[in-house]
């Protein structure tokens, strides 16, 4: 079982307590009524599906209940780091885990 670090509980907890909650860092346009249908489609429906490092929202559903952001490698399923919701994307070590993982 994976252990995921919850930035609010400040502890590693078993993955069963968590739920995936989609891609992170998607900001709702402030001029939502002015944007075109294509732009709305881009914002509302289209998501990245990267192989390697992905920025995702997770929720500590059966714990503190909070949403937070996580950096996860979609190839190895390794959680590189987690951080509180609202924080900017963290700097990742150059040539991180993803290249290594993707090659396996």
């Amino acid at each position: 079982m994976l252990l995921i670090h919850c930035p609010y509980c400040n502890e590693e907890r078993p993955e069963l307590e968590f739920r995936h909650a989609g891609e992170a860092h998607i900001a709702r346009p402030t001029n939502i009524t002015a944007i075109s249908d294509e732009e709305f489609t881009q914002f509302f429906f289209l998501r990245d599906n990267p192989k390697g490092i992905a920025f995702e929202r997770w929720r500590h559903m059966h714990g503190c209940g909070r949403f937070f952001n996580a950096v996860r490698d979609t190839v190895t399923d390794k959680f590189v780091t987690t951080y509180e919701a609202g924080q900017p994307r963290p700097d990742l070590p150059a040539g991180g885990e993803n290249e290594k993982g993707a090659g396996k």
Binding site: N10, G63, C64
Partner: protein
Amino acid sequence: MAKATMAAATGPLDGQVAGSALVSIKPMEPASRLAIRARPDAIASLSKVLGVKLPQAPKTSAQSTAAKSRQRVALWLGPDEWLVIDDGNADLMGICAKAKGLYSAVDVSHRNTSVLVSGKGAEATISAGCPQNLSLDVFPVGACARTLLGKTEVVLYRVEEDVFRVECWRSFSTYVFAFLAEAGQSPMI
């Protein structure tokens, strides 16, 4: 409301007992419970009227020391969320009404019921269905957490070294009790 019209509360697990030589599993008496969500500026006021300091650190609880609220405990569930349990069946909603600041308090006395798991095999019994590390150095006396037991969500509270309180939803309680009873037959110590 006139007292004469009040029906006696019956618990969903009334009369059930389970366990083995190593662990005792029994339903607890009805208690009053409050689910509190509060902004930081309301915490001090709420703590004052409730007579128990709402804990700020994850996975911690606070037991009231005041004489009139001795049976009251506040459990940290999230950064702005607490579960307050009063085994003396105090009117927590009435008490909370005096607090200042922005907060929400919901009476969940009848939504929840609790099972007391005690004995040398208590930790092992709960570990049969709970993915968290419950060893004493990680989950000490007084620790509490919302987590899973089998398929259901529960709030776990370590009252003593080998006494756990398992708070679960009333409608899940037969499952929780059956799960614990099964696990308690031969806890893996």
